[in-house]
């Protein structure tokens, strides 16, 4: 936690933490409190007066089929993104672990999507799958699939999942490679001497040993899918068609800034906050446990 | 020309007191070794003199000036740490010059001082290297160089040799001692190694549980330990301690009897202490016998671990190197009756 030895000066440490603390107070704690407070308020249509309504906003959300379906949609979206990007990344990492030459080159190329802004990633995939022009649309048409994510809600969902997963592959790949790299070579060699082939080794040794990383990545990917995919959805579908790709974060933005339902939006923020807190706690539990290994 | 005086020096962390009032007066140019088992407070004491630990009670004076509240840099000290504490991102030169720079010495003087000390320690050729490119012994010398270059009134060493291998340690021991004598700087040196302590010290301070168990020259402490702890701590292998009862005629050790030296006046149940090297290898006198349980050959001498009836511990006896004693053999146990020590069973203080 801290050094065994430390300085004893009276004011300096306060000066040092001050910038961080002030910014935290002004732009984090205070707005979070505001969100909490507003979630208990009901404003009239003109924003002139407001009434303290306790948990009405939450009850309303609970009764709102729209919100519930957005919740389920977000869960589906998150697990799909996590599953797809982690699966692909694991596959690449397992292969990259096998090759000696060129690993660096593959890594350099695979790293690129990490640096691409979500909204740009969305734009690229939108262009590929543009219903009239897109090159992928053209290929799909050749094999008899009619692609139009502007009308077909499951295609829309598929496209945002694809774009979101694409961006996250780099991150997962790097972690899987690092995890595989940290497995002692002697362990793999011992298994090879015991006659286990590459596929068998992967299943019985490598995969179990990287399971802490896998779990860590699962949490990180879910957090990513929850909060960092706003730009992708904004660019690709803007939540449509209908509400079919409106995930929770997008809905907070939509209801608050477009729909101007402050209380409802704030209540949604508060729920999101609790989700982040839960995920963060899980993540830290994991890190704690990992320390013991 | 520096003296150090510690008066009733105490240190507590919250509720636990770790240093219980230590008095030491160190004269100019003296080499004082603080020795004791781990947790005895020797490092804490050193760090209190350095100013790295606050002083709970009592006084530290350097040159008759109380330094309790002074920052380390204002005490005129220099310290060599166990892990050397060299700045890894600086070259050897920069490491040595850093303190001088902070003293705002002129550039030429810094260069000159570092150069001199580097020559003295034969590290001139490393001046532009980083610590990570040096061997353990070289790093050790750089750490010393950094201390010397400050021209301190007092050197403080905190187990500086414990990270070196055995051979290098013996070498450096001599080098440090010679260097200190030539420079004439008053020195406090912490170690847990009693051989190091004996060979280097002008005077030893044997610490136990935050108390100075004894202060004296190495030979004083060896010949005349004040209590059982000091007697057992100094000397290798350690002194044998045997429970015995002294009556008017004999010393009774578990039913076996030894003549009582006439000048031993104590009577009753005490602890007898005999150093392994204080046994006589003759069968002349009526003696206790024991069976050799284990033999340790170190070349110049042989240590016999002997099992005697009614005595729990094995008794260690030193013989000359080519002794042909075998395991299982019966050997006489003939202590030199002029070299017996007696300790009180309860207070562990020396009785005779």
């Amino acid at each position: 936690m801290q050094k065994r030895v430390h300085y004893n000066t009276s004011y300096l440490p306060y000066l040092l933490v001050a910038p961080q603390i002030i910014i935290t107070l002004v732009f984090f704690i205070w707005p979070a409190m505001q969100a909490l407070y507003q979630s208990f308020l009901l404003e009239d249509a003109f924003g002139l007066s407001s009434e303290f309504v306790w948990f009405d906003n939450f009850v309303e959300l609970y009764d709102n089929p729209n919100y519930l379906s957005s919740f389920i949609r977000t869960a589906f979206f998150s697990f799909a993104v996590a599953g797809l990007s982690m699966g692909v990344a694991l596959f690449f990492a397992a292969l990259a672990d096998r090759v000696v030459k060129g690993a660096q080159g593959y890594r350099t190329l695979l790293i690129i999507p990490y640096a691409v802004a979500p909204v740009l990633a969305g734009t690229l995939w939108l262009f590929l799958f543009n219903p009239t022009l897109g090159i992928m649309t053209y290929f799909l048409d050749m094999i008899g699939i009619n692609w139009n994510h502007k009308l077909d809600s499951s295609q829309a969902m598929g496209l945002v999942i694809l774009a979101a997963a694409w961006k996250q592959i780099s991150y997962n790949f790097l972690f899987f490679v690092a995890a595989m790299h940290s497995i002692p070579k002697s362990l793999i060699e011992a298994a090879a001497i015991d006659g286990a082939g590459p596929a068998h080794r992967f299943r019985t040794i490598i995969f179990p040993l990287i399971s802490p990383t896998t779990f860590f990545l699962l949490v990180v990917n879910i957090i990513y899918a929850f909060f960092d995919t706003f730009g992708i959805i904004h660019a690709v579908t803007a939540g449509g068609p209908g509400n079919s790709t409106e995930i929770l974060v997008y809905k907070v933005f939509n209801d608050g800034f477009v729909g101007l339902d402050l209380g409802g939006s704030a209540a949604q923020s508060v729920i999101l906050m609790f989700i982040v807190i839960a995920l963060t706690v899980i993540q830290f539990k994991y890190i704690e446990r990992k320390v013991e290994y | 020309m520096s003296t150090i005086n510690m008066q009733q020096l105490k240190k507590s962390y919250e509720d636990t007191q770790v240093i219980h009032g230590i008095d030491i007066d160190i004269v100019d140019g003296e080499f004082i070794v603080l020795v004791g088992p781990s947790g005895c407070g020797k490092s804490t004491l050193l760090r209190m003199v350095a100013g790295l630990e606050s002083i709970s009670d009592g006084e530290v004076k350097i040159d008759d000036k109380v330094v309790n509240k002074l920052e380390p840099k204002d005490r005129g000290i220099a310290m060599v740490f166990q892990n050397y504490a060299l700045y890894p991102h600086m070259t050897v030169y920069q490491n040595m010059a850093y303190g001088l720079k902070l003293m705002k010495l002129p550039k030429e003087e810094i260069v000159q001082r570092v150069q001199e000390v580097a020559e003295l320690l034969q590290i001139e050729q490393f001046l532009e290297r980083r610590p990570s490119n040096l061997s353990g012994g070289q790093r050790q010398r750089v750490a010393m160089g950094r201390a010397i270059v400050r021209k301190p009134k007092v050197f403080l060493f905190d187990e500086p040799l414990s990270n070196l291998d055995a051979k290098l340690r013996v070498q450096m021991r001599m080098q440090i001692k010679t260097l200190q004598r030539n420079l004439g700087v008053t020195t406090l040196y912490v170690t847990h190694d009693q051989v190091e302590a004996m060979t280097m010290a002008d005077r030893l301070v044997v610490l136990k549980d935050g108390i100075a168990a004894q202060i004296g020259t190495p030979m004083e402490i060896y010949d005349d330990p004040h209590n059982q702890f000091v007697a057992g701590f100094i000397g290798s292998p350690a002194m044998n301690f045997i429970d015995c009862t002294i009556s008017d005629e004999v010393i009774d050790i578990g039913g076996q009897k030894m003549p009582r030296p006439t000048d031993v006046t104590q009577r009753g149940s005490v602890v007898l202490g005999i150093r392994p090297e204080h046994f006589i290898n003759t069968a002349d006198q009526p003696a206790i016998q024991g069976q050799v349980d284990m033999i340790e050959k170190v070349g110049a001498s042989v240590f016999l671990y002997v099992k005697c009836d009614h005595i729990e511990e094995l008794i260690v006896i030193q013989r000359e190197g080519h002794s042909q004693v075998q395991i299982g053999e019966l050997v006489p146990i003939n202590p030199n009756l002029n070299k017996l020590y007696f300790f009180d069973k309860n207070t562990q203080q020396r009785l005779y």
């Binding site: 801290q2 030895v5 040092l16 910038p19 190329l109 691409v116 262009f127 972690f175 909060f227 904004h234 | -």
Partner: protein, 279 residues
């Protein structure tokens, strides 16, 4: 490699090459599209190979104002925002971590937990009230408004704390004996010893800052304050007509170039920093 099987190695390479090609495909198509003229990009099927209009398009992009804000201005805005966020985050985190690790003071743990809490409050979650705070401070449409609310970071503080804990205690003591004040020690020893971490963090944070989208979208209304990442979206919504894809893709190229270059060229440091700090 444990055993030598040329065949599996060959297959591994082949699969990797195909896989990497698929991953890079969207970016390739972006490059291709940015090198054709508007007309070619209305004809199905779209080209798979680069055309010869790249320089023409660049000239057009930099000379024209019809695509939202002038591109050089929005690039500059993005750079300013990314630098302010990354350097700001690093500075305030490194000093607060220094205080928490190296000093004993009242409320130390309280401050620590307060910083920890920010980890649980991503900007997306408290977007509306944060917007109100920034608005009431008059920081809309300014670099400060773009960057300052994003620069408090528990992650960076934790990372620096972790790094500092690995610096041996004796160095701090040695520096005290050498006569260095806490701040001297900070600048002369702690910072130089953490420079790899600072560099790695810079890469991560530069990308984070450059790629901000939702926040600048809310904070800026003045086109002169738009960031390049934002302007893409403006171009997509170019009214009734089909978007100008060659210009969009060219802008996208410029928008992703700085972070991609940073990550590719500082790859080693970045990978180490990323996987060491675990987010």
């Amino acid at each position: 490699m444990v055993e030598n099987r040329p065949m599996t190695t060959f297959i591994s390479h082949s699969v990797l090459i195909i896989g990497v090609a698929l991953i890079v495909f969207p970016i390739w198509i972006m490059l291709v599209a940015s090198s054709h003229d508007a007309l070619r990009l209305t004809q199905v099927p779209l080209p798979l190979l680069p055309g010869d209009q790249f320089w023409e398009n660049i000239k057009l992009l930099f000379s024209s104002k019809t695509f939202g804000a002038p591109i050089h201005l929005s690039l500059l805005n993005s750079l300013a925002m990314a630098m302010m966020i990354s350097l700001g985050k690093i500075s305030i985190s490194v000093i607060s971590a220094f205080a928490i690790v190296y000093f004993k003071f009242r409320f130390r743990m309280f401050f620590f937990w307060m910083i920890f809490v920010t980890l649980m409050l991503p900007v997306e979650v408290r977007i509306l009230p944060t917007y109100e705070v920034v608005a009431s401070l008059g920081m809309l449409d300014s670099y400060l408004g773009l960057s300052v609310p994003l620069i408090a970071s528990a992650t960076a503080t934790f990372m620096f704390r972790q790094t500092f804990l690995t610096i041996s205690d004796e160095l701090m003591e040695a520096s005290r004996i050498d006569g260095a004040s806490p701040m001297r020690f900070f600048f002369d020893v702690v910072i130089p010893m953490s420079r790899t971490n600072i560099a790695a963090l810079f890469v991560i944070l530069f990308i984070y800052g450059w790629n901000q989208y939702l926040w600048p979208l809310l904070i800026t209304t003045d086109p002169d304050m738009y960031t390049v990442v934002m302007s893409i979206k403006q171009m997509l919504e170019s009214g009734e007509s089909e978007p100008m894809w060659h210009m969009i893709m060219l802008t996208a190229l410029f928008a992703m170039l700085p972070p991609v270059l940073v990550v590719v060229f500082m790859q080693k440091i970045f990978v180490k920093g990323l996987t060491d700090s675990e987010k």
